[in-house]
Amino acid sequence: MTATAPLFSESYRPAFAGFVANRREPDAIARLRREAFDRFQTLGWPTRQQEAWRLTDLSALQSITFQQPADALIDASALPTLEGPTHRLVFVNGRFAPGLSRLPKLPDGALITSLGQALTTHLERIEPYLDRLPGLERHSFAALNTAFWEDGAFVHLPRGTMVEEPIHLVFYAAGSDVTVHPRLLLALEGDAQATVVVEYRGQGRYLNAPLAELALGMGAVLHYHQIQEEAPQAFHLGAIRARQDRDSDMNLHLISVGGQLARADLAVLLDGEGASCAINGLTLARDQQYGDYHVRIEHARPHGTSEQRFKSVLDGKARSAFDGMIHVRPGAQKTDARQTSRNLLLSKQAQAHSNPRLEILADDVKCGHGSTTGFLDPDAEFYLRARGIPATQARALLVHAFANDNLNQIRLTPLRERLARLLAARLALDLAEGK
């Protein structure tokens, strides 16, 4: 295979020139785009010679030319919903769709809006955060996103603001050989609290390369859910970067089921004493699907806690990769950082790669990681069957048992129940087709 893809990177140059020429936006934003594009030019397209991309095969992407998408008309019934009152923003091909969105009354000062619109109305609230959070400096797609994002969601909660209803952000992509770069910017000032559900869906063969930036002020609490259910032929190359201030609490729930290739890179900086971060990841993959998480948690201050629990269930020839780095800076004493990666293989051709890593530069910390990969326990399967439970149901029960504690950590009941149904439907299908 080709070591680099200069053609692909080159083809971005005229695209970028055309893209910025048509945009009328503040100089500060235009400058961010240019800097990001320069960064991308330097970084280039990732290759498998780079350690971080060793397992991610992007060759299927290189063979096609991705264009900026045209507008698409979407039937509202294709979009996921959450029961109960929500603040809902829908983006189709990266552009805000006000007709499909719904925003009930917000607490004073709170802002939930299209990022594109907010550039003209609330630039002063965007500037302190947009592209200002550390992390993913060497990530080509994060750079591309900053260069090319058209629109996205902006949530800004001033000090002490609580938004009770879930903030539901739906990104739908439609088209063939198109690329979308949605942007999410969530900034919670001190003691603010929010529950956010981000959903990625679509139809066709496209590349979705979103970048989410999460800033948590002192004592802020964020429950962030990301449901990746891209179209079967689609590619998802997402990134999340987060910075947490003192005593803030961030819970990330990352569910990945769609796309032929899905990867998310996460960089979390615990930048205040006593900050805590929990990441709960579940990947379901089958056929030829590939699912990948690259996580870097950086403990910069004392008394921080982080817990990562990643699981994957792989059928057919599916593959998953997990690369998790816990980095504890000198001085980040009393850090408590844990990480597990557990993989369940439902077929002999499925493969899971785990690469847990620790870099600990402080001496008074508790850090642990563990990784397991295995097949369903044949003794457990026989035990269930010996009680009359048919083989396929027995297997489904065991897979469900494996994945369920991840789902149970989701406290948002309508979402948890929807995901449980999704899991059950996938299992019924996979296991009925199988053996």
């Binding site: 026989f382 269930l384 010996a386």
Partner: protein
């Protein structure tokens, strides 16, 4: 109801059962005793349909049907039950949920609708009392973190809820103190009736004081070396298996 004829079984090319003949009629309780490694669990597993055992000769019929043609779940739905020597822990599957799935699987097989929630709850409660099981065990994952005794009790509890027509109990008495042993025996005795059959595998005569068998068989080295009435168990208790066994070490361990 259970007819085993000339059963030969190999595991990984080693012959473990070397021609077993055993007929159990409705209402009968048979006990199988024998030293470690003589093939008792192998027989139980072959009856239940576990993979990894090759029947090279012979047959097993259950109510005239060829049992060896059925997969394990069909055998269970036909009314067969195995209380495991080593019950399996299944993290993440709640005991109660598992039981209900089992009950409904059997009902579906019989063409019956799923069990009514209230009826099921009543049945579960009644049977829990029978084996003196704590209600908290229903919510816990199947056998996970259960003590040895709790696991065995859970097996008898499942049997009491599923009400099979024929049950094999593989060393359900091992590791139980005398009170727990009585509870297990009471559970079994409560189910005994003229239609049900039991095959009780044990090392100890002790259990047979409480579950009094109609027939006792001594399994040695893959063959039934001797069959008799309940008094045979007492004789074995006194003499061990030395008479039957070429390896005295095993006999001592078994009789200990």
């Amino acid at each position: 109801m259970l007819e085993i004829r000339n059963l030969h079984v190999t595991v990984e090319d080693r012959e473990i059962l070397k021609g077993i003949d055993l007929i159990i009629r409705p209402g009968e309780t048979h006990a199988i005793m024998g030293p470690n490694g003589s093939g008792k669990s192998t027989l139980a597993n072959v009856i239940a349909g576990r993979e990894g055992y090759t029947v090279t000769e012979g047959e097993i019929r259950f109510d005239g049907k060829n049992l060896l043609d059925m997969d394990p779940e069909t055998r269970a739905c036909e009314g067969l039950f195995l209380a495991f020597q080593y019950p399996v822990e299944i993290p993440g599957v709640a005991n109660l949920y598992f039981l209900k799935a089992a009950v409904n699987a059997v009902r579906k097989y019989r063409g019956e609708p799923p069990v009514d929630a209230m009826d099921f709850w009543d049945l579960v409660h009644e049977r829990m009392e029978l084996v003196k099981m704590d209600e908290s065990m229903l919510k816990r994952s199947v056998n996970e973190g259960f003590s040895g005794g709790e696991k065995k009790r859970n097996e008898v509890f499942q049997m009491a809820v599923l009400q099979p027509r024929f049950a094999v109990l593989d060393e359900t008495d091992s590791g139980l103190d005398i009170d727990a042993l009585k509870v297990v025996a009471d559970g079994v005795n409560a189910l005994r009736n003229p239609e049900r059959g039991f095959l009780v595998i044990t090392h100890y005569q002790r259990l047979l004081d409480y579950i009094v068998p109609d027939h006792v068989h001594v399994l040695v080295n893959g063959k039934i070396a001797r069959s008799g009435g309940k008094e045979l168990a007492l004789e074995l208790e006194a003499q061990g298996y030395a008479l039957y066994n070429e390896e005295p070490g095993r006999a001592r361990r078994a009789a200990a």
